[in-house]
């Protein structure tokens, strides 16, 4: 009974499929034409099938390709028709591509899934792009453009061009035009068009332009006996022994191409001699005598003459062999016109990139300068104005940074915590500065070397104290999210927001400093006390109080600088000592006792360091070394700094 039903069902199915075949839609016909290729699913042979679907001009083509690529295209074993299948109760529900009607639910056994491999899916993807480029949804069009830029392909050129006409979105249109130029450079059949495209894009800084141009000028090194063959697009002829092609390398090329006998290396010679030792002798030489290269060579040549080992290649032989060959770099692209144009375009870009890199470097240097300025401005007060050497200045920076860290542990909101941390860091280091001034420095005025040592003792103690409290590992001080990221002007020039913030913070502190020194009572009294403490005292100024407050102010600013520095550098107990030498250098190079000098010093050191790093990018340690040497020499010529006080005020 069951068998009968099954047979009937089978019959029914067959007849249904036959009827279906009669009514096959246009796209199904296309698929059927290439049925064999589709079922075979080989990357090698699938091309025509995909093209046939894509070029069919049918509106369902995109859906078919999409289903195919998504592995949703199934074939019904009974009649070999293709459907879109979705999993349903009791098997798979099939949908006709042409009509979009659901044909019915079929058991999995009656169906076969078409499983295109990744290679085929890539091809389908390429074919799909032309549909996506004209998709009504701008997002899809954008995706298509992105996929083109990721995987440029000659086949995409035509659909891309075709889609420009209908593009209504101005942004997308511009992107399409640009992409079209890039594809033209790479793949257009017409050389003149390519050259034109290159000329259009030369001077464009984006990485993708260079990515499009670079393959055109890629070279391959080759060697040939006699002259370079006709029709080769030669980039340059190489002389063996030049920097571009050392002789050893040239000869190795010949060996690799089986054009010359391999050279016998010292190790190979030794191995060959070892292998041929007999009765304590080899090549007519006693083993005991083999302690020099000349003897070994003689023994080897003896062996080679006897035919035991490969012949010895002398330097003369190498030179003779090399003389017989021409070494050259050749462009992969045979057209001189194209490679020249590409080189021109690249050179134009290189120049522009260079200029922009200089701009980028300037920004970098400016931000480094503002960091140094920030680190040094507290010193400009305590050392520059008051003449107090505070070696614990770096530790005040550290204290400020740790204050920020502690605040972030309590206040989780990063923006709020920074807003709280800045005044708190100022308060903490102000208090520490005042305490230090009262307890230690007050007793040491006019004894700068003693001050240096005593404050160094404090620095050692504070550093160890921080280590005891916070441990040796680096603590994070996280910037608020709105300071993440960078301001990007183009593919070359960019600067992170945090550095911009630090730049403005430095400007702010410069303004604060100027305001306090020039416009407030404290500033006036500070200047009076530093210039003539006795006279100031006799005019009713309390020098002790003024010194205390000024020192506190300098220390407080160091604390705030610590918060700023902690945002981009690690907070460790040793961070202060990283800045102390540079900070003193900044003040000394700039000219003691003058805030503009400190600014000039920071700028000079910042630019200098970036400049040296640019000249020697691999080695920042060396950059610092050279910078310090430069500063030592600089002080030879301007012992009082860039902006020097002259005459009696300088306290000769």
């Amino acid at each position: 009974m069951i068998r009968v039903i099954a047979a009937t069902l089978a019959l029914l199915l067959t007849s249904f499929s036959v009827s279906a075949q009669d009514t096959t839609g246009a796209i199904q016909q296309v698929l059927q034409e290439h049925s064999a290729a589709i079922l075979k699913s080989s990357r090698m042979t699938i091309g025509p099938a995909i093209d046939a679907v894509a070029d069919s001009g049918l509106e369902q083509a995109q859906a078919v390709l999409q289903a195919w690529s998504d592995k949703n295209m199934w074939v019904r074993e009974a009649d070999g028709l293709f459907f879109r299948a979705t999993e349903a109760e009791g098997g798979y529900s099939l949908t006709d591509f042409d009509t979009g009607e659901v044909v019915g639910v079929f058991d999995k056994d009656a169906l076969d899934q078409i499983k295109p491999n990744s290679g085929i899916r890539a091809l389908i993807g390429t074919a799909l792009v032309q549909f996506q480029l004209k998709d009504p949804d701008p997002l899809r069009r954008q995706e298509a453009l992105t996929s083109i830029s990721r995987a440029p392909d000659p086949a995409l050129l035509k659909p891309l061009r075709n889609s420009i006409e209908m593009e209504t979105d101005p942004t997308l249109r511009a992107q399409k035009l640009r992409q079209e130029r890039l594809l033209t450079i790479g793949y257009d059949a017409d050389s003149d068009a390519r050259v034109q495209a290159m000329a259009d894009m030369s001077g464009d800084l984006s990485v993708d332009v260079r990515a499009a141009l670079n393959p055109l000028v890629a070279t391959r090194r080759a060697v040939v006996q006699g002259d370079v063959p006709e029709g080769t697009n030669v980039a340059r002829i190489l002389t063996p022994g030049s920097d571009a092609l050392p002789r050893v390398e040239a000869y190795d090329m010949l060996v690799a191409a089986d054009l010359a006998q391999p050279r016998v290396t010292n190790a190979a010679m030794r191995a060959a001699l070892e292998a041929n030792i007999a009765d304590g002798r080899v090549g007519g030489v006693s083993v005991q005598q083999l302690g020099s290269d000349a003897v070994r060579r003689a023994a080897y040549i003896a062996l080679a003459d006897a035919g035991t080992v490969p012949p010895f290649i002398s330097e003369e032989t190498v030179q003779e062999t090399l003389d017989g060959f021409t070494f050259y770099d050749a462009y992969a692209d045979p057209s001189r016109q194209i490679t020249d144009a590409a080189n021109d375009a690249l050179n134009a870009i290189k120049l522009k990139v260079g200029l922009n890199q200089a701009a980028d470097l300037t920004l970098d240097a400016l931000s480094l300068a503002s960091i140094y300025f920030l680190a040094a401005i507290g010193l400009a007060i305590t050392f520059g104005v008051m003449g107090v050497i505070n070696m614990a200045h770096g530790e005040f920076i550290m204290m400020g940074a740790y204050t920020g860290y502690v605040v972030q542990q309590i206040v989780p909101n990063h923006t709020l915590s920074i807003i709280v941390a800045i005044p708190l860091a100022f308060a903490v280091t102000f208090a520490a500065g005042v305490a230090m001034e009262r307890l230690v420095i007050r007793w040491l005025y006019n004894r700068p070397l003693e001050t240096l040592l005593a404050t160094f003792g404090i620095s050692i103690a504070l550093q160890q104290l921080a280590k005891n409290i916070f441990g040796t590992q680096a603590r994070p001080l996280t910037a608020p999210a709105w300071l993440d990221g960078a301001l990007t002007l183009n593919d070359v020039v960019s600067i992170s927001y945090i550095r911009i913030a630090i730049f403005f913070l430095a400007l702010f502190f410069l303004a604060v400093f100027l305001f306090i020194m020039k416009r407030t009572r404290l500033g006036l009294e500070t200047r009076a006390v530093t210039q003539n403490p006795r006279m100031a005292a006799s005019m009713g100024i309390n020098p002790g109080r003024v010194n205390m407050l000024t020192f506190g102010l300098g220390s407080g600013i160091a604390g705030v600088a610590g918060v700023a520095i902690g945002l981009f550098a690690k907070v460790t107990s040793e961070m202060g000592s990283d800045y102390i030498v540079q900070s003193f250098m900044t003040v000394v190079v700039g000219g003691v006792g003058n805030i503009w000098g400190t600014l000039a010093g920071a700028t000079m050191i910042g630019f200098l360091q970036k400049g040296i790093e640019w000249g020697n990018p691999s080695n920042t340690l060396a950059a610092q070394t050279y910078m310090i040497i430069f500063i030592i020499i600089f002080i030879q010529f301007r012992p009082r700094g860039i902006i020097a006080l002259k005459g009696r005020a300088a306290g000769d």
Binding site: L645, K646, G647, R648, A649, D652
Partner: protein, 246 residues
């Protein structure tokens, strides 16, 4: 008498302030000269220029028979050429004995290598002892100079200068802070010194200058206002104006 030091047309300014303005000055061998002038007249700066501490913006400073320019020489070289200078404040090496102070100043090779192996001979010690007697410190030879009184330090500094055997002595306010007796002694020492060498004394105190009994140069605003005997310059109307105010 031949000219020992000739300063001509010298000017120097600090941050726009002209401390010395087209100053010319000359002094002969074995001459005593007093330089007076109100505060800020450029007296100390003038000494700074002659001793090489300050380089003038323009002008010439010529020295000795051969008219060597002092402008190219370092302080130490100028001192070795024979210019001795006494500071306004007594500056002696307080941590060292009077004897050590004087020995250091004795006219001997100044290079570090000969000095390293130098050990004082009997003759040197005798010379130092005589010198100490001259400046009234014969009993204090082995005392630390920091223990001396203010006036004694002034004398010791003059003694140090004399030990150098300079041809020109520049003395900045030697009588400041001295008792009248000490002043008298100081005058004697200077007058004695001027017999064999040129001495320039910068001084405020007119009484002291009068006792020196020598030619006087009045400086004002960085240039020479008047020159001549004390009576001559004090009767000069310009000088009266400057000193007494207009």
């Amino acid at each position: 008498m031949s000219t020992l030091l000739e300063v001509s047309g010298v000017s120097v300014s600090f941050d726009g302030f002209r401390a010395i303005n087209n100053l010319s000055f000359r002094i002969a061998d074995a001459e005593m000269r007093a330089v007076i002038g109100p505060n800020g007249a450029g007296k100390t700066t003038f000494m700074d220029i002659v001793t090489g501490k300050t380089k003038p913006d323009e002008g010439r400073v010529l020295w000795g028979e051969k008219s060597v320019s002092l402008l190219k020489m370092s302080e130490a070289k100028i001192a070795q050429a024979g210019v001795g200078r006494k500071f306004q404040k007594p500056t002696v090496f307080e941590d060292q004995s009077v004897q050590e102070n004087l020995l250091m100043a004795l006219k001997k090779p100044r290079g570090w290598f000969p000095v390293l192996s130098y050990r004082p001979s009997e003759e040197d010690l005798a010379k130092v002892a005589t010198l100490a007697d001259d400046i009234g410190l014969g009993d204090a030879l082995l005392r630390k100079s920091g223990e001396l009184s203010h006036g004694q330090k002034q004398w010791l500094e003059i003694g140090i200068l004399l030990a150098q055997e300079p041809r020109l002595l520049l003395v900045d306010e030697p009588a400041a802070g001295m008792t009248p007796e000490e002043r008298e002694k100081t005058t004697d020492i200077l007058v004695e010194a001027a017999k064999t060498r040129a001495v320039v004394v910068v001084e405020h105190d007119m009484e002291f200058v009068r006792r020196l009994n020598c030619k006087v140069t009045v400086l004002h605003e960085g240039s020479v206002l008047a020159e001549g005997s004390l009576d001559h310059v004090t009767s000069n109307q310009n000088v009266i104006d400057v000193y007494l105010g207009r």
